[in-house]
Symmetry: C2
């Protein structure tokens, strides 16, 4: 049994982490919720009992063995070293350490063994990259993978609870003819589509688009993989979708891909378009699997394939994957 | 001055056609609105005067010189020949005749001269293909075009007025905790994303995805162009967006593309991401231009480019383009 801290316990991902620790029966002795000072003293529920939120400080990790961080990159940089110093292994959901060559970036279905070499911090990937590698790994292993083009349809819960509230209020306002001003996003998100997630860099890509490319390469162990993404926020509450066009090294037909994915860990094949069955964000919400469908040849390339990949960004895209990493640490004896 | 019929005058596109004929001061003598029998006798407004809707029949085209059809493919097949027989030139917004080799498929900014060879019917393109070729034509002419990958974010008005009502009612219901059953779409569209527009064929592509590929090739005059699309319905009322990744024959840098597009007819460049300026569906709505931004290298290919293209599907994607074709017929003497 383990003493577990959840850092950012009152946020969208932190709250989901608590639910997933419960659901999966993670062997917790003490559950210590940590958050910013403004949540100090707030009661949150874990396994039917109230737990008091404590302020995140450098000395809050005493006795903790596993610290699940979901508090953003700057807090991770500030407090993860203290947690490691106190003897905890940190599983961090932010981008702070993901591309650090000494930090494993892990989706257990894809590269679980990378966890073994950790030095106290393990990074949890971006919410588009995580489901993407779950879907692509079996294909890459079978026939090789050379290029990936992703266009995402990302839900507002990826931004946080304030964004869910903003979409809710803006939608109601729009329908009533009195839309409130945007505050979380620079433009209205209700009934709109914003091609802007993260900051723009010199190249014209956003931070989110760069993460999808960099993290996909790192987790698949393919440093030369060609990846380009267009990341778009859409008025969906939860679960991210992605239209994925890939080029493999050897050609593979869609039926063979379906067989691979049916057998792949963490994948739920939803691919009977004639029966109107394909992955949908509202169907993926609350599930831990990555839903994959619309599998077909990309007819614009002799070794092209197209797929439609949907997963719950708060679960497999964040909390579930972090808890799975914690499970690997425990069951493999890598703690 | 011309006698003009608008077929499907009470629908989403037909209504927009009337507004655009007014806005552009098209030289109309008689404006004859035609629709199905259930709209017979309904009054619609044109230039501030009520006009009585007549039932679409084979003998409804007497004296008409230009017939703008927006009544679906089966009605176009049934009634367009009668209109031509009566002496009208038909501009048809459905897919019925688009891929007929004897029928010009035209976006005036791209291939206006194809109109000249018409035999009575001119096809108006699909609402994703039309803006796509407006954005790609200047690039294709400058450096050649070899491959196009499109992921669309299509609004419900592309389906029609009933779909706009469905999104409105479903959104309100969802927010109130009592969502009505879907009827226009097979799944809820509110706060969801449906990768299903048109019927699925054997290859796994939808009719919409096939139209984007076929029509793009035909209008650009590039029969061997490699095109693959993923078409997705999103909870947006009006204007379609598309993430476009292309491969050119010769490499071209993003600044050169910006210069080309700034000078291109029908294009509005909206590409200052550092100022949060990029095309948005709610900004494109009500405009006739195709908005293009997010122009950057597609770093996954040595001659790759990525763009974000947004346009009002009822205007440039349908009604505006049809009226532009009518203007070409008149001003070029091709009627």
């Amino acid at each position: 049994m383990f003493d577990v801290a959840v850092v950012g316990a009152t946020g969208a991902v932190g709250t989901t982490m608590l639910r997933i620790l419960e659901e999966r029966g993670f062997p917790v002795t003490e559950l210590r919720p940590l958050a910013s000072a403004r949540s100090e003293g707030r009661q949150i529920d874990y396994l039917g009992r109230p737990r008091t939120v404590r302020t995140l400080t450098a000395d809050a990790f005493e006795g903790i063995q596993i610290a699940l961080f979901s508090a953003g990159a700057s807090r991770a940089r500030e407090f993860a070293p203290a947690a490691v110093e106190a003897g905890a292994v940190v599983i961090d959901n932010s981008s702070a350490f993901r591309m650090d060559p000494s930090v494993p970036l892990v989706v257990p279905e894809v590269n679980e063994h990378d966890i073994e070499g950790h030095s106290g911090i393990i990074a949890n990937p971006n919410c588009v990259a995580a489901p993407l590698v779950v879907a692509l790994k079996p294909i890459a292993d079978a026939v090789g993978l050379e290029r990936v083009i992703v266009s995402s349809y990302q839900s507002v819960s990826g931004t946080g609870q304030a964004a869910v509230a903003e979409l809710t209020e803006q939608s109601a306002g729009y329908l009533a003819g009195a839309e409130p001003e945007p505050s979380v996003y620079p433009h209205p998100i209700a009934f709109n589509a914003l091609p802007h997630i993260g900051d723009f860099d010199e190249s014209g890509y956003t931070g989110e688009e760069q993460k999808v490319a960099d993290e996909t390469r790192k987790m698949l162990g393919l440093p030369d993989l060609a990846v380009s993404a267009t990341c778009v926020r859409v008025p969906v509450m939860q679960s991210h979708s992605q239209a994925v066009h890939i080029e493999t090294t050897e050609a593979i037909d869609p039926d063979a891909v379906r067989r691979l994915l049916m057998a792949a860990p963490g994948v739920m094949l939803v691919d009977e378009p004639g029966l109107n069955l394909y992955p949908l964000p509202r169907d993926a919400t609350g599930r831990d699997e990555v839903l994959v469908g619309r599998i077909r040849k990309d007819t614009s390339h002799p070794r092209g394939l197209a797929l439609w990949v949907v997963s719950d960004n708060l679960r497999k895209g964040a909390a579930t994957n972090a808890v799975q990493i914690a499970e690997s640490l425990v069951t493999r004896g890598w703690l």
